[in-house]
């Protein structure tokens, strides 16, 4: 059992989202950064799409009453376990009685916390994702919540070889259209030549962007039609909205371009104030990038014994506290006492 001491800013359960119900108006929901969800799960030996906690900007503080194995992936956090700094991107053992403080995100907007054996919130329409737009799925975390989980010990673990870095300036690759004909060539040039800033109004339904206004040829609205995650809509005021995982299934603004699948995870990490550019690519190029991402996913997750994982934890400790003279560490069955 885990008790939520402090829930964080917006901590929700997310998995791969709801598939096959869009014709009923059910938003897809699911992790805004799918790749980091996969990483977090694979680092504790789960299926890549098991439900995990999606932390937003400020993570929760959790008190563990059972032994557990967890991993963090996504936007950079500096979590502590009973005040001892923990590494991201590897399996970490937690002992009954310890308190995990996830802390504030230093980069990105979302970080995923997976637990070996998986969280098991109730599923609605075959998914445990919290849909904060329509209210489907489990509610977001609140102080005092108690989370049921299995006890796990760390006998073998994993780390990620090349963790992604999230920066405050990024370029997202897009495929132009399908409503390019709604814009003048000058507006299309402004879209691909411009730098946009992520507005504070952004959430899991979409990123609101400010920058050069993209003017349309026609002011009337599109007839209501199906929308995809990554669609960059241009409302009448000319300020783009890029749709994220909680977007409504139907929309009425013309779409100037759509972010490629492989770049959606990075788009889900943008935070207010970040700068963003769009680069046009072909469908073939988009698929090539996606294939590479797919093929390297499992290869990047390396299995390691508790000794190696402990050594990695010590490196994190040493980095975080340059003045540190000695430390005691307990990871799985390992107890380490270091002096320098």
């Amino acid at each position: 059992m885990i008790t939520v001491v402090e829930p964080g800013q917006l901590t929700s359960y997310q998995d791969a989202g709801r598939s096959g119900y869009a014709h009923l108006g059910v938003p897809h929901a699911g992790a805004a950064d799918r790749l980091s969800l996969w990483h977090a799960n694979l680092l504790v030996g789960n299926d890549a799409t098991s439900p995990a906690l999606e932390l937003t900007l400020r993570g929760p503080t959790l008190h563990f009453e059972t032994n557990a194995v967890v991993a963090f992936a996504g936007g950079r956090v500096e979590p502590t376990l009973d005040d001892m700094p923990l590494p991201m991107y590897q399996s970490v053992a937690i002992h009954a009685g310890q308190t995990l403080a996830c802390g504030t995100l230093l980069t990105g907007t979302r970080c995923y916390l997976a637990i070996a054996g998986g969280f098991s919130p109730p599923a609605t329409l075959a998914s445990s994702s919290s849909d904060t737009f329509s209210g489907l799925g489990p509610p977001i975390l609140r102080a005092g919540d108690r989370i049921d989980c299995e006890t796990r010990e760390l006998y073998q673990g994993w780390y990620l070889r090349f963790p992604p870095e999230f920066t405050h300036e990024t370029t997202l690759r897009v495929i132009p259209g399908p409503h390019e004909d709604w814009f003048t060539p000058a507006a299309v040039a402004a879209f691909f030549g411009g730098t946009f800033k992520v507005h504070a109004d952004s959430d899991r339904t979409g990123l609101r962007l400010s920058g050069e206004r993209i003017l349309r040829k026609y002011q009337d609205e599109l007839s209501s039609q199906g929308m995809v995650t990554g669609a960059v809509q241009i409302p009448g005021d000319g300020h783009p909205i890029a749709l994220l995982s909680n977007h409504g299934t139907i929309g009425g603004y013309p779409v100037i371009a759509v972010v490629i699948q492989a770049d959606l995870p990075r788009m889900g990490q943008l935070r207010s104030g970040d700068k963003l550019r769009f680069q046009a690519v072909s469908r073939d190029q988009a698929l090539e990038v996606l294939r590479t991402m797919d093929a390297t996913l499992h290869a990047a997750v390396v299995s390691a014994d508790p000794g190696l994982l402990t050594a990695r934890s010590l490196l994190v400790l040493a980095k975080a506290h340059p003045g540190l003279r000695q430390a005691r560490l307990r990871l799985g069955r390992w107890r380490v006492h270091v002096r320098r």
Binding site: A22, S224, V228, R283, A286, R291
Partner: protein
């Protein structure tokens, strides 16, 4: 028919109308093609979302004419009476825009017979056609952050019902206690495209 890619993993097909979009959706659905993730029929289009590493686009384009000419699936329209309390906060504003008095707005809204064109926006939200042309009003310039569940509203050529409390920009005429979406039911959405809806005013 105009068919376009939407990003790297969806196709948007224009159709004559909502009914044609439903028919095309059913014809494709029956084939259980590999890699299809979503089929979203709307007002005059069908969106097909697919797994780009699993879906055979070339094969789909080859089959598309067959789907278009497929024998139409008969749709048995069910009739629904939905009880509405006409106490919506936008009645006055709709009366002002249309130049009708409030009673006339209510009368024109409840005397029409509506057809579900498609579902979308939020779970179980019906886009209903058949609205009296006199009642066509634009949606609000700035949407409300929370519209209560059960709100019966209008915008442009549609009437609709908000199944959940969500943000929304349609003009609210009244509310209903009818549950439009229940994920625990075998078919979670109460209404389906093609169904007819009558609004019955209650005090």
């Amino acid at each position: 028919m105009n068919t376009r890619f939407v990003g790297d993993s969806a196709l948007l097909m224009d159709t004559q109308d909502a009914w044609a979009a439903q028919q095309l959706c059913l014809a494709i659905h029956k084939q259980s093609l590999r890699g299809v993730r979503e089929l979203v029929p709307a007002y005059n289009s069908l969106l097909l979302e697919f797994d780009p590493l699993d879906f055979d686009v070339t094969n789909f384009f080859r089959l598309l004419p067959k789907f278009m000419q497929a024998k139409k699936t008969p749709v048995t329209a069910r009739e629904y009476d939905i009880a509405v309390t006409y106490d919506g906060e936008d009645l006055r504003e709709v009366a002002r825009i249309t130049g009708l008095d409030i009673d006339e707005v209510i009368h024109r809204h409840e005397s029409a017979i509506y057809t579900v064109a498609f579902l979308g926006f939020a779970p179980g939200f019906p886009y209903l056609t058949g609205l009296d042309p006199k009642l066509q009003v634009p949606r609000m310039k700035s949407p409300r952050t929370k519209v209560p569940a059960g709100a019966v509203a209008i915008a442009d050529e549609f009437s609709g019902i908000y199944p959940q409390a969500t943000p929304g920009g349609w003009r609210i005429l009244g509310h209903t206690d009818t549950v439009l979406f229940d994920p625990a039911r075998a078919s979670p959405a109460l209404l389906a495209p093609g169904d007819n809806v009558h609004f019955r005013p209650v005090a």
